[in-house]
């Protein structure tokens, strides 16, 4: 039972992290029409930026976190102009290639320029090691708890921004009908850049959370993360924010429980088998289109 509870909590934490990543994928799909497959690799690049600064500053946590957030925003903002011509022409396949290229380039940068291509490890202080909450035989590490809380906060803040602010309404208008948005005097390219910057900001914060909860990163982390995000996106119906949240948490819990009870790492195989089966019977995904 203790194992179960520990794995469940760890799964929910993992799930909320996925949820934050999936929200960014959905944001970009809804506003720009782009499935940004390279986004997860850019997120991992932010983890590397944090690691680099942590190393250079003798593990100054504040500076490391700032480096992750700043690199997330900068990476979002400088990659957005690459996509603009394709967004204007609604050339989504070309945009997909650009996105893949960005992911591959950032993976190569990580494997060539950092730590001799070996996985990087974050200082234990970032994971708040030694501090934990004990409840019976279940021990929850502080780093995990903080990750969980901050992820939930990001989701709430994002939904508030989207639904209750002027900029959020503008993003939603572009997502619903680009033509009408233009008629209303909304600049579609500016909105696209805003959504990239926002996805970058959230990506930067998420990079810290990943570092906090896993303690390591490697250049291939982006690939496995984008594969998982893709599974959730298709499972939950692409562009469906609520569905994405629910499916992310389910994936996190299933993955965590599988890790606790099954020998070897079968999570990707299981997750994608479920996706294929569901898509066979419900091609539009579990939740359908929603705005």
């Amino acid at each position: 039972m203790e194992v179960f509870i520990a794995q469940l909590i760890s799964g929910i934490k993992l799930g909320t992290l996925y949820a934050v990543v999936v929200i960014c994928y959905n944001l970009l799909i809804l506003v720009t029409g782009i499935l940004h497959l390279g986004y997860a690799s850019l997120l991992v690049l932010s983890m590397y930026a944090a690691w680099f600064v942590l190393n250079a500053t003798n593990n100054n946590l504040i500076l490391g976190m700032m480096a992750a957030i700043a690199s997330g925003v900068v990476l979002g903002a400088i990659t957005a102009p690459l996509f603009l011509p394709f967004i204007k022409r609604r050339a989504m396949l070309e945009a997909l290639v650009v996105s893949l290229a960005l992911g591959i380039i950032s993976s190569d940068i990580m494997s060539h320029w950092f730590n001799l291509g070996l996985p990087i490890a974050f200082p234990p202080s970032l994971q708040m090691e030694g501090r934990s909450i004990q409840w019976g035989l279940t021990i929850i590490r502080m780093g995990e708890l903080v990750t969980l809380l901050v992820s939930v906060l990001i989701v709430i803040a994002f939904l508030y921004f989207l639904n209750k602010t002027k900029q959020g309404r503008i993003l939603r208008a572009v997502a619903q009908d680009t033509e009408v948005a233009r008629i209303l005097g909304i600049s579609v390219p500016k909105t696209a850049i805003l959504s990239f910057a926002l996805a970058g900001l959230i990506g930067g914060i998420t990079a810290i959370l990943f570092a906090m909860s896993t303690g390591t990163a490697s250049s291939i982390l982006g690939d496995s993360l984008s594969i998982k995000a893709l599974a959730v996106l298709f499972l939950a119906s692409i562009g469906n924010l609520k569905g994405g949240l629910i499916c992310s948490i389910i994936l996190g819990v299933v993955e965590s429980l599988a890790m606790g009870y099954l020998p070897g790492d079968w999570t990707n195989a299981i997750a994608f088998s479920v996706v294929v089966i569901i898509l066979l019977f419900k091609p539009e995904g579990l939740f359908g289109e929603q705005h």
Binding site: R169, R172, A173, D177, R182, I183, I186, S187, Q290
Partner: protein, 242 residues
């Protein structure tokens, strides 16, 4: 009509979709507090002219002047910010947003008191106030048109362009839409009205232009065109008896 109260002046514009000419050598103008009607069959180029004013289509020739400024090369964003709004065919209401959210989106370039503006729109269309938190997709065609016009008014525009506001609406509702348009004119709004309902348009238009395959074939005051035998035969056939 003097030059000083001229709001819009379109001079000799031509617009192509690829190699196909949609609008050829069109010139027209609108003055303060005028209803200017554009009538003609579907595909005659009326909407294309309105879209050109908003910068959604670009003319290869001529110029478009709004309150003395050439806007032909301005971005749609800046054109809207300068005081021109366009209500597309069907209204262009965002169905997955509430009525209130739709209205607020009309005011993204509005600099004045938003609450005051909103209550003015609610005063004009009380039903929108009652249902402000309802999804716009659940509304009827006539109600959507109200949201669309209300949203356009949110920015206190200097020129209101309505594209087929009566299309697909029940006759009673059509009468209501034209009442709204006439009231807006009385309050001083300048309106460019593209319509297939020629009779109703000519009845309320100060000036009207008749479009045929991308060109203006006739223009005059609404009264002149109403009594023009060619127009009566071509456009008013069914309606003229009533």
């Amino acid at each position: 009509m003097g030059q000083n109260n001229q709001i819009l002046k379109i001079e000799n514009i031509s617009i192509y979709y690829g190699h196909i000419c949609a609008v050829r050598n069109v010139s027209l103008s609108a003055h303060q507090a005028e209803i200017v009607g554009l009538i003609g069959a579907n595909g005659a180029g009326k909407s294309t002219v309105l879209k050109a004013v908003l910068g959604l289509q670009r003319s290869r020739t001529g110029f478009i002047q709004f309150m003395g400024r050439d806007i032909a090369k301005m971005s749609t964003e800046n054109i809207v910010a300068s005081g021109i709004v366009y209500v597309p065919e069907g209204g262009g209401v965002l169905p997955f947003m509430t009525i209130l959210e739709n209205l607020l989106l009309g005011a993204i370039h509005f600099k004045g008191n938003l609450h005051e503006r909103l209550s003015k729109v609610f005063e004009r269309f009380p039903i929108l106030k009652e249902r402000q938190n309802q999804q716009a997709g659940t509304l009827s065609g006539g109600e959507r048109q109200m949201v669309a016009i209300g949203r356009a008014l949110m920015s206190a525009p200097k020129l209101l362009m309505l594209d087929e506001p009566s299309l697909g609406l029940a006759p009673k509702v059509v009468t209501g839409v034209f009442e709204v348009i006439l009231n807006l004119q009385k309050e001083g709004y300048t309106i460019l009205l593209s319509e297939q309902n020629a009779k109703k348009t000519l009845l309320c238009a100060n000036q009207a232009y008749v479009f045929q395959t991308g060109e203006i074939v006739l223009n005059g005051t609404g009264q002149e065109l109403l009594t023009n035998p060619n127009i009566q035969q071509a456009y008013l056939g069914g309606y003229s008896e009533k």
